[in-house]
Amino acid sequence: MNPEDIKVCILRAGGTNCDAETQRAFQELGVQAQTLQISELVKHRNLLDYDVLVFPGGFSYGDYVRSGAIFARHLFAHLGKEMQSFIDKGRPILGICNGFQILVEYGLLPGFEGISPIPEATLTTNEPAGFKCKWVYLKQENQGKCVFTSAIPMGKTIRLPIAHGEGRLLFPKEKEDVLLKRLIDADMLVFRYCTKDGQSADGLYPTNPNGSFHDIAGICNREGNIFGLMPHPERALYWWKQPDWTRHNQMLQYGDGKLIFQSIIDKLTKH
């Protein structure tokens, strides 16, 4: 597949944000990207015409009930069959911030046994409480299964911004340790919050900005084609989007966010 043949669907609803930035990121790298309102996809388009599906950030449906819950159930009710076919074909799905919350609420992540009819985890209120909008460091800990991080060597530290009030990933308390082991054994752990030089956050604020279990910032499913992360790669695409750009004489053309988009394009073009 050539990059220009790749079609990306960025699915939005009321309250979504950064869909335009996400579309721009894919287009910048030479692929076709289209932002669709969910009602438009339901009535006039076919999800299977697209090669990649992206749920952008934001506060879909006002975060009512729980962040991502209404979008997830709405999607299940109207496009459940198409979603199932899309997933059965192994096509990649990316969830950024609220998109990650949607994937968890849909039961696609972590997806230890495939799609779960009820959520297997939650992304809940930050601890300490409050909306956090800042740059964080992330360590890439995936050994190669995740299709959205293939351009980032394992162990590498990258820098991306976060902007969320509910990013604390939790598993059911009584199963935390067992599920963490499964996550690691199945190579589903992808990003963990860390210090600038890649040292573990050890659960401590502000390196871990939201109290997330095991400092987890991003996970993929057992097949590696569905990936969710709380930070926003699309907000770290260009060098001039980075917080310290005025302090450097010269920077690389792109920020670390590019690596997420480049990874999936590389995967699809080499397939």
Binding site: V65, I118, P119, E127, A129
Partner: protein
């Protein structure tokens, strides 16, 4: 028959409660002697059902399919006739 089904969703015991802790701190700042604040959400769903048992069954289903995330939430259901 019309029923008002009350579904109260609260945090499971043992889960930290940043929203309640923040609220408690503020209430103390306002001069109240507050030990703790527990936060829960109440949905009152008005629905048609042939009897109370069916109304409760529907509420159970709604809770599992949308209103509750079993990772962190507990819930209780109470049913009353809607006049």
């Amino acid at each position: 028959m019309k029923y008002a089904v009350k579904i109260e969703v609260s945090l499971k015991p043992g889960h930290s409660n940043p929203e309640g802790e923040t609220t408690a701190r503020l209430l103390v700042e306002l001069g109240y002697s507050v030990e703790a604040v527990e936060v829960s959400k109440v949905y009152t769903v008005v629905l048609e059902a042939s009897n109370m048992v069916e109304a409760e069954q529907k509420a159970q289903e709604m809770s599992k399919r949308l209103l509750v995330n079993p990772t962190k939430d507990d819930y209780t259901i109470s049913v009353a006739e809607k006049k």
